[in-house]
Point group: D2
Amino acid sequence: MAVRTVRAAVAGASGYAGGELLRLLLGHPGIEIGALTGNSNAGRRLGGLQPHLLPLADRVLAETTPEVLAGHEVVFLALPHGQSAAVAERLGDEVLVVDMGADFRLKDAADWERFYGSAHAGTWPYGLPELPGARAALEGSRRIAVPGCYPTAVSLALFPAYAVGLAEPEAVITAASGTSGAGKAAKPHLLGSEVMGSMSPYGVGGGHRHTPEMIQNLSEAAGERVTVSFTPTLAPMPRGILATCSAKAKPGITAQEVRAAYEKAFADEPFVHLLPEGQWPATASVYGSNAVQIQVTYDEAAGRIIAISAIDNLTKGTAGGAVQSMNIALGLPEDTGLSTIGVAP
Amino acid sequence: MAVRTVRAAVAGASGYAGGELLRLLLGHPGIEIGALTGNSNAGRRLGGLQPHLLPLADRVLAETTPEVLAGHEVVFLALPHGQSAAVAERLGDEVLVVDMGADFRLKDAADWERFYGSAHAGTWPYGLPELPGARAALEGSRRIAVPGCYPTAVSLALFPAYAVGLAEPEAVITAASGTSGAGKAAKPHLLGSEVMGSMSPYGVGGGHRHTPEMIQNLSEAAGERVTVSFTPTLAPMPRGILATCSAKAKPGITAQEVRAAYEKAFADEPFVHLLPEGQWPATASVYGSNAVQIQVTYDEAAGRIIAISAIDNLTKGTAGGAVQSMNIALGLPEDTGLSTIGVAP
Amino acid sequence: MAVRTVRAAVAGASGYAGGELLRLLLGHPGIEIGALTGNSNAGRRLGGLQPHLLPLADRVLAETTPEVLAGHEVVFLALPHGQSAAVAERLGDEVLVVDMGADFRLKDAADWERFYGSAHAGTWPYGLPELPGARAALEGSRRIAVPGCYPTAVSLALFPAYAVGLAEPEAVITAASGTSGAGKAAKPHLLGSEVMGSMSPYGVGGGHRHTPEMIQNLSEAAGERVTVSFTPTLAPMPRGILATCSAKAKPGITAQEVRAAYEKAFADEPFVHLLPEGQWPATASVYGSNAVQIQVTYDEAAGRIIAISAIDNLTKGTAGGAVQSMNIALGLPEDTGLSTIGVAP
Amino acid sequence: MAVRTVRAAVAGASGYAGGELLRLLLGHPGIEIGALTGNSNAGRRLGGLQPHLLPLADRVLAETTPEVLAGHEVVFLALPHGQSAAVAERLGDEVLVVDMGADFRLKDAADWERFYGSAHAGTWPYGLPELPGARAALEGSRRIAVPGCYPTAVSLALFPAYAVGLAEPEAVITAASGTSGAGKAAKPHLLGSEVMGSMSPYGVGGGHRHTPEMIQNLSEAAGERVTVSFTPTLAPMPRGILATCSAKAKPGITAQEVRAAYEKAFADEPFVHLLPEGQWPATASVYGSNAVQIQVTYDEAAGRIIAISAIDNLTKGTAGGAVQSMNIALGLPEDTGLSTIGVAP
């Protein structure tokens, strides 16, 4: 193919987000993989760290420095929260910097400081193209803030209800995530022995850092402040998010209006698939894919709209979303290098 | 020990509920295991059907007939929904009949008929001793309706908030269940290949048969009709329920009031363990045990009380609850043959 | 791309092998997906049967008849054992028929009859290109017998030792397989409740149908009859085979000779990756990929060569192997539409 | 019951072996649980470390010092390898010291030094009562070396064949273990994200520390040096070992002789269950139980005896075996506080 390739560097190539990004970039016809960095793993072969990425097995990780990252048209930052700003400011304005961390997602500095405990670095165009207005902000941009995995699943499941005024501004959300969402740092509660056969909640009661991001997205869709009660749970699976999202229905709405709003919202979306009525999402169906599977219903007896979405937290929830937004920023077809086909069973 | 033993028969001994019941009865000092029946498996050795129950390996299943079940002081019915009434009426009034199916749980005949599609058989004392008034109804009773697994987890998590008037009558519940809750009948969507690595919802929008049972329990605690939005999900684990239960808070309540209500509700309960603040339940911690682990918090920003419970769906959720209620009915110490110790990791 | 596309039909599109094949064909630039059939599922939407294959969601399965399969240049048969011959003989000699069942794998009719209990249908070129002489037989062929998943993993792990005379003709093999290897038909022992948390053997003592196929492959490599003691086990994972293959070492061999034999055997293979010394395969690393990861060592104290391979049973072990062989038969680059990149973690 | 209770201390109460031991001791009528220690976790509540042990939730761990351990009739040591000797020598000869580590298992000092790299501390009576002569050595003993989990599963599976001379001294063994066998220390390769969905080998080629222990046991049974080719694999489950053990058959043996040898070896064993012919072990069947399920067959074509055992690595493989041996040493019924009933599904 006569596609011009651009060189991309990946800072943080030894973690789960970095590994998934490399998996996708290896299949992207417009990308040439350049520098790979990883701080504690600098100097190590990628083959020992990401043994599933055979074509890159002999690549050796460099340290994450401006010199190493220089000379690339795209730089992906898969760094711990709070580290992206310092790196980004050393890269030129003409470089497309895609931050897979949280640093530039929130618009409200107070929210950032309360949940992350450091100074707010700023706000970049938000890499969830399916949200109203998001694509326009991404086109031609040279800075992208990739959304969190939970906000991706939740915002896509609920924004259609809010955008057309079907729901009261009170959302109750429970989401189950695969363990890769917690990263690759070894912690006792993430051991296989602990997580297999177990479901457990964490960050209950508004404490999860993704909560203000959901509030931001849903409030923008609703045009008013939406409160969100968000409970994340850890599920015994490596990947996947199943988000059960519920919003109090406005008086007098009908099931047909709800269905219509969702059909309209996703009619032209390449990655969001509203399932036929009666079929519900399963995380296995989007394993390794950039697809979002959504179903919605109106529980009249309870007076609530229930929308459920399934994504792969590492693909659409992180690295796939990053590539999708990069494609838009670079003017490539949005689905280049991305698939809606899951690996199942 | 000089405990008098009573003979117990188990109808439906080849299924998951029956197997768990036998596991518990084998360790119960007051029970002698009598007849074991199983319709499609009649004539088969239990060793081939329940290979974990070594002491009963050479027992052969009989057919479920009144003659086989006669002559036992206790008869457990672990039968498909709708089959218990016909069997029970052939057993004498002096026999303690413990129905592990749904037939006698609901008080409202219309609810029964809407969700189960057959005529309502009646209502028996409800085997969830921790609910207000439940123990008194079980003492000396010769009929017990064992609760559903989800209603057990959900009712225990939320009734304290309703009983003291802290919550508005609108509950939103998402629960994740291990696959044994779906039974042992082979269906494609329950294959290991399908469920491992996958989370998926079912019965969304009020369709699950356990919904009216939850409404019944919570409404009785609240003294008013509580609406329940209930979403069950299937989790990749054999056992366990994690119920995330949320109720809109009444205006002006405080976190201290919520904590106090839960501490008081469970202070003397042998099986319900309100965790220390900051520690959340995990299903692995109650694996194979009759314990319920609960934590509660008040999310002031969202205006909701969030209570989360973990149970083993087969133990406290079915067979353990049955034994606990049987103990009360027979006048035995309530915890005879039951443990609060999980098998973990 | 200016690739000429050929139309391919898939008989048995609702099963796991058929689903994986479609996943690969969707990404194959030289294939246009034609008729899809499935007997008990004829008339159903593929979206309900293979919900991970979004681009084909609206395709409806036809019955498996010669008329439906006619008019395709390639026909894949993912049918139960013993059904391929009758279908194949109704397809013209110019059609490339790729049998993913066992019917045409064995050369010895007596072996076939003993293990499968029906008349032997014949022998087709064997679709494991990495074996000595296999590629030549596949080039231009219009009939391909895709190997079994276990024989793929085992033959690749051991043939290099036999081909250069390092091993006595006595192999002892234990392999763990994901549950998808047992297919999608609902059987009680394959329920998630049964397989999660459990390892169990089956077909012990030479009873597994893949044993004669392994003996055939290893004996051809050795130039003498190799006995194989093969024990398959079912592992709690959806996909993957880990084959632990051990052969008694010939007297006087060295570890260097063993390593050299394996390096030479796989030096030019696009899909077989001999890992660096000290690194061992894991099935997660080849999840969804056509790669084979192999490591080998010589245990001098025990006098045995131990070779361990990891494959994805559905990809390289079935559908990927089928596509790889098809590519050779059609004269396409062997790796067209296939990847060596796994989906991990 | 009028059982005299003895006080037992547990050093290493925060790990998996210590936790399982406490689970069993809580149900042991002859034991009163005394001091609990844990080095890095000293000062912490057990409820936060072992949340499944509700009755001990408020116990606080002490440091592992001679003073803390003094005054107990039984002291269990669940310490890292190499640390038991120093502790044991500070405890009086009249104290029953049960070492759950490896320090006193091996008779050959050279083997110890080669595999563990420190000076050999000695050899204590070996806590696998089912081996010939083992019970006599345990009766009244005040020192017990609890076997390794793999040697327990493997030795029980193969010693009958060696004890009556049916097998050549060449054993080939592959065993799959649940992740709890690797302990509770957080390491990246043991993360849930890494192990779920994956099978992988380790310590291949004779490198595993349990190999000399197996050789010791099997050689004693055989009366000659047995070579062992042992490959352990890590399986995606928290508990359980499935050991596939194969030995070259002596010429002229019959399947009947093999069966008879195993029936005789285990006829009076309370915990070892030779399954009926045709039924094979599964780790799920012994989950949480002290039972060993074994099946054996003679593969005449391959000339090998294949014996397969399933145990729970933490119960019979560690803590249950420790309690069983303690019972013998204390003169209690051997099965006191132990069960042959698994928690399944």
